[in-house]
Amino acid sequence: MSAGYRQQPGNRSSKRTDGKRVAGKQVFPPPGSGGSRPVMKERDLDFIPESVGGKEPQPAGSHIHDRIRTGTVVGKSLSLVDSNAKVTGQAWYGDDVRLPNETIGKILRSPHHYAKIKSIDTSRVEALPGVISVATGQDAANSFGVLPVTKDEHAMAVEKVRHMGDLVACVCAETEAIAIEALSLFDIEWEVLEPVFDRKMGLEDVDEPIHWRGKYHLSRTNVQKRVFQEFGDRSLVDNPHAASHGKWSMEGVHHGFTEPHAVVAHWDPNGRLQLYTPQQVPHYTHRALSTVLDVPMHQINVIRTFVGGGFGGKSDPFPHEMCAAILSRKSGRPVRITFDREEVYWINRGRHPSDIEVKMTADDVGRISGFDIDALIDGGGFASFGHVTSYYNGVLATAPYELGSFHYTGARVWTNKPASGAMRGHGAVNTRCAVEVGLDEMAEQMAVDPIDLRLANLLPPHSRTITGFRITSNGMREALEEVRDGSKWDEKFRQLPLGKGIGVGCGFFISGSGLPIHWDPNRFPHATVHIQVDMDGGVTVHTGAADIGQGSTTAVAQVVAEVLALPIEMIHVRSHESDTAPVDLGSYSSRVTFMNANAAIRAALEIREQILNAAWDILGYHPNTLVLNDRRIYYKHDPSIGVSYLKALHKAQEDKGSLIASGAYRSPPMGGVHKGAAAGLAPAYSFSAYVAEVDVDVELGLVKCTNVWAAHDCGKALNPLAVKGQIIGSCHMGLGQVLSEKMVYGRTGHLQNANLLEYKIPSVHEMPHVVPIIIESCDPEGPFGAKEAGEGPLLPILPAVVNAVYDAVGVRFRDLPLTPDIVYKGIERKRKSLKLDDCLELPNPRLEHGPMQEVLVARANEHKTRDKARQRTEDTSHYVNGVLFGFDPNIPLEDQVDGWRMATEPDPEQLAELGLAGKAWLKKTQREMGRDD
């Protein structure tokens, strides 16, 4: 086949010794260099994997996306594509949307914890000059909620208010001053009810449960959800070699984002609602608006503004969004509602206050024979994401360890407090802390190093956890080894003086929830992305990915740039409006980069194919032999034969104009079939290990975290700068929870610190020096191998700090946060029990390795070899949890062992021994009680 016009390649080395060029060969610059004026960057081999001829090391073998890597942007530290808007003050957040002729909305909030509304008289409000419209619960009777199974919220209280600060009515006026004045003119008749604040009381029958679930209601309690799960061989926990038993009490914490909630609603002249809101999950808001307002979804355009921090706190559809829409509908004018900081705490959705009990055992060869977890979590007034949280508290605490058995009972109760919900590390944080501290305690009993205990009990890559989750890539071992080496652990652990300590913790988190909340994943994808390329070669990407500062827009732009080998400046992401964006489920469960970037890659591949086909037309070489580089396509074996991106693009556009492609991501079928199997299921999982160093002022009880080595397995760091930012930021948030942050409810159940002065977020002075360490396990399912990095890194900091405090002073703390009063009391108690005069004489723990240490190190080394072999993606047959205990992975476990259980309801004989939350199983549902109302 003739290759058309072809220049004779030559190079500078083909010079004769006398300096003259070899006859017949002409020297010409490398492709794209443009002679004296470079117009094309060289292909960056450092960012192309070894498997396709580059130099990038590959920890996990070749990967599904390797062949489309162009070395353009993936793996490089880039600033966020929207950062210039942010540093110039031009980024528009919720309250920055100012429409002409706007009115200001304000919300009347409940002064009672729990009360029935007998009547509302708004006549005095309406009479106030300057008031435009008023709305109450009667204006919107339809209920909504983020999960279809628990739609228990209303725009405003319909029948009763469920916590202090619950929405009662709203008003919009010409000015904010008039709106505030109007709030004092509502005449409301209340019937005050007996509130419940104590989560333990939530398990008891009451006259007036906070919500009523009809035949599914559990007796007359305030239990919203109860969970029972039991897996494995429970006989293994008998006669343990080591055991830990801890009862934890954890306070509620809030996301503490800096931007208060705000919303602007406007019904345009065509009768369509334009709703501007800083939302992590605009699609669910879209659905909820449609339900509450009784208009079809296509009549609503949800515009996501810039989001001033989310962390899970802006992921519910919110009642104030409904209020703004209702007021705007009534008034015919735009309505802007902005929260003050106190209202932010009233709407809450922060981490659940929890009582957690963890029992764990290890056998005589240092295997973890059982986890027994009981979690009672305080949901506040509404369900929010709580259905899922109830499961996460148990199921996400199992991996990365291979367990002999797992037993979990959980319950979420309603109380008359602001609703808890999803917060960074959703549901996994509190139990993870309890479990990791338990492992530390068992390691001490066995006289072994806690890191070696962990290394000897890890699940390998491509494994199935005890509850049936499919782990693909797994960088846990490397993460632990990195932090051990980085922190000089072996020189410090149990060797530091009193008051100085070092501790370790691990984490395991989902990278995207495996099931979309609203539909069967087999019938509709998780994420869809549209790409459009017009004549000028600029690429417009339409996505619903909600960037909340984590950089999902940048990630989407990066993967498209990578596939098409274009500079990232040529990729323009449009993600704000539901009118132009295909459906995306939003930024929660660490799904957005994983799923959206996967969808974007698929769309970009279609564009790439069209362009390469056009280049085939021009060059005469099959696309398989063509290479995409910076705005140029050339023949693999002779780079001088090529065509510019623009020419190829124009060729491709000859018949159809703009190139348009759509790509989607659907998670593969996976996981078990038992009740609740979908909770915690994810297409990939992230792993992390932290070592923290603390200084404890033994006399004052003040804990200061000084250094953190933070290793996180994010699969592949698409943007290392952003990943490091996520790791350090997670550290900051977790540190707040473990050392200073708590929502304080006084004796009267009143939230006492609804402001940023008394709700103590770590300032710059409280931050330790964090060494972020990125572990790249290169996930086969992730976009270019990436997994999540936004939530998982939060988990290990809590137990690492608690364990470090133990190392420093020899006291195990199980009440979070570790405020000075708690630490001081603990130290004093220890001093008195040892009959010492001065707490400075306290002995702090020391470690002399016992015989078990050798056993564990030997097994860890053996497993390291096993894991390395399994890291190759070519072998993806699953290692099944239980092999360590002698089971044959090829025969279903229940057929091998009599005692192997998989149960989602307790046996009657178990009822007597259930933990605190497990007591919910002593109650019967209304249906079981024979009442079907």
Partner: protein
């Protein structure tokens, strides 16, 4: 937001532009800046002086605009985040926050930028501790401060002239579509 009050005329220079506005005599500076001057880059985070998002410079000194009555600062020169850049040319502190991860969600960024610009104006060679002292009144929930401190250190290098100041993104730059030197003009007939 304060209750209604008699109106008064307020004058000040905001970002080098002089304003003469009719304001409530008890108006808070933050409200005047956001609602009347139109500098929406000044963010409202807490209204209580606890988060630092609303930091502006008043005659070169960083100040929390939510804790300041507009009347207290009349006839001063106020600089908000919008006034840091020189036209399209980002100030070093802005360029470095963008480049080194000093800004994630971006809501606290204006306050941090103003506070750190005030620091760099005084002291172009701050230590990490001096930086921490300068931004201790600003809360950031995303970054954990570490990359903010790095960004400020990088900006300080530009202030000291050790590193070149990056050019504006809107500067003219060459055609992004190279026709490479070896661009073959293909004779017809070589299609697939």
């Amino acid at each position: 937001m304060t209750p209604s009050a008699p109106k008064t005329i307020w004058s000040a220079t905001v970002n080098k532009k002089s304003f003469e506005l009719l304001i409530n005599s008890n108006a808070v500076l933050l409200d005047v800046l956001r609602d009347q001057v139109g500098t929406l880059g000044v963010k409202r985070g807490c209204d209580l002086g606890t988060c630092g998002c609303c930091t502006v410079m008043v005659d070169g000194e960083p100040r929390l605009s939510c804790l300041c009555l507009a009347g207290q600062v009349s006839d001063t020169a106020i600089t908000t985040v919008e006034g840091l850049a020189n036209g399209a040319h980002l100030a070093p502190i802005q360029a470095c926050f963008a480049k080194y991860g000093g800004s994630q969600c971006g809501f606290c960024t204006p306050g941090f930028l103003v506070a750190s610009q005030a620091l760099l104006d005084d002291n172009p060679s701050p230590t990490d501790q001096e930086i921490a002292d300068a931004i201790e009144g600003n809360l950031c929930r995303c970054t954990g401060y570490q990359q903010i401190i790095e960004s400020i250190q990088e900006a300080a290098k530009i202030h000291r002239g050790e590193v070149a100041h990056p050019q504006p993104a809107s500067d003219p730059h060459p055609d992004p579509h190279p026709d490479g030197p070896g661009e073959p003009s293909m004779p017809p007939g070589h299609a697939k």
